[in-house]
């Protein structure tokens, strides 16, 4: 009952935050055992070519400040707990976006004794961004899809 209420509250918060966020989104990057390929592409979003900070998207240092978690890597056994703790620490609405093939479905690492084979076995994921690694523009499209803004951005010529 309590959990149901919390889930409802989270859902309503999620819709509300999408209205309120507008052009301000704070992201925390969580490395759940990736090879750094996706992380480099993600950090490339902040370089002069893509420059997501002009859209108001910012990378922050703590999950407590973040509206969204970008998770890379397939969730190794040691980082499973770290990911759960990070998810628990994140501010509601706790939007989780899985970046790369490992986070989406195990990728080339797959499912083994050391790897969960997908982030969605640990935390609920709202958007999957496949690719090995995905282009920075594809990651940006995934972020926009999580905010339900992708269609509007495409219509505007982005």
């Amino acid at each position: 009952m309590e959990n149901q209420h919390t889930a409802d509250l989270e859902l309503s918060l999620q819709t509300r935050i999408k209205e309120v966020l507008g052009n301000s989104l704070h992201i925390r990057h969580v490395d759940a055992g990736s090879c750094n390929g996706c992380d480099f592409e993600m950090m490339a979003l902040c370089n002069p070519v893509y420059d997501v900070q002009r859209f108001g998207i910012d990378f922050v240092a703590s999950p407590r400040h973040a509206d969204m978690l970008l998770v890379t890597g397939g969730g190794t056994r040691h980082l499973e707990v770290a990911l759960q703790k990070t998810y628990a620490a994140a501010a509601a609405p706790k939007m989780v976006v899985a970046i790369g093939a490992c986070a989406c479905g195990g990728g080339v690492v797959g499912q083994s004794y050391a790897n969960t084979g997908g982030i969605d076995r640990i935390v609920p994921v709202i958007v999957y961004v496949p690719g090995c690694p995905p282009r920075p523009s594809a990651i940006l499209a995934g972020i926009l899809l999580a905010l339900d803004k992708l269609a509007a951005c495409r219509a505007a010529g982005f």
Partner: protein, 112 residues
């Protein structure tokens, strides 16, 4: 000092006005299976390093799980029928995992 300023002046703006532009033509993106050409030999299933392609011997069907694909292009290189192609499509984001799974019925001459 003057040299640096001159280089900055020459470079100009590098920021992309349209960050969601299409990838380059040679970009290895989403794989595409031509069901008309495929004969169901499942060489691609054997060569796939991440198990993104699957098929069984009793059904003429190839299942492509795009969320597992690592875009190495081995399937396209090893397809004798040239039925699999790498497109330059890089925007594969989806809210539901089922949208990323394609079940393709093939002619299946070699199936079994």
């Amino acid at each position: 000092m003057f040299e640096i300023l001159r280089k900055i002046w020459q470079t100009g703006t590098v920021t992309k006005r349209q960050p969601l532009a299409e990838a380059a033509g040679k970009y290895r993106g989403k794989i595409e299976l031509d069901a008309a050409k495929c004969n169901g030999c499942r060489d691609c299933v054997g060569i796939c390093p991440s198990g993104a392609l699957s098929g069984s011997s009793d059904r003429p069907q190839i299942i492509i799980e795009h969320h597992k694909c690592v875009f190495c292009g081995s399937c396209a290189d090893n397809c004798e029928q040239r039925a699999i192609k790498m497109t330059n499509q890089c925007y594969l984001e989806a809210k539901d995992k089922q949208d990323l799974i394609a079940r393709i019925e093939v002619s299946g001459e070699k199936c079994g």
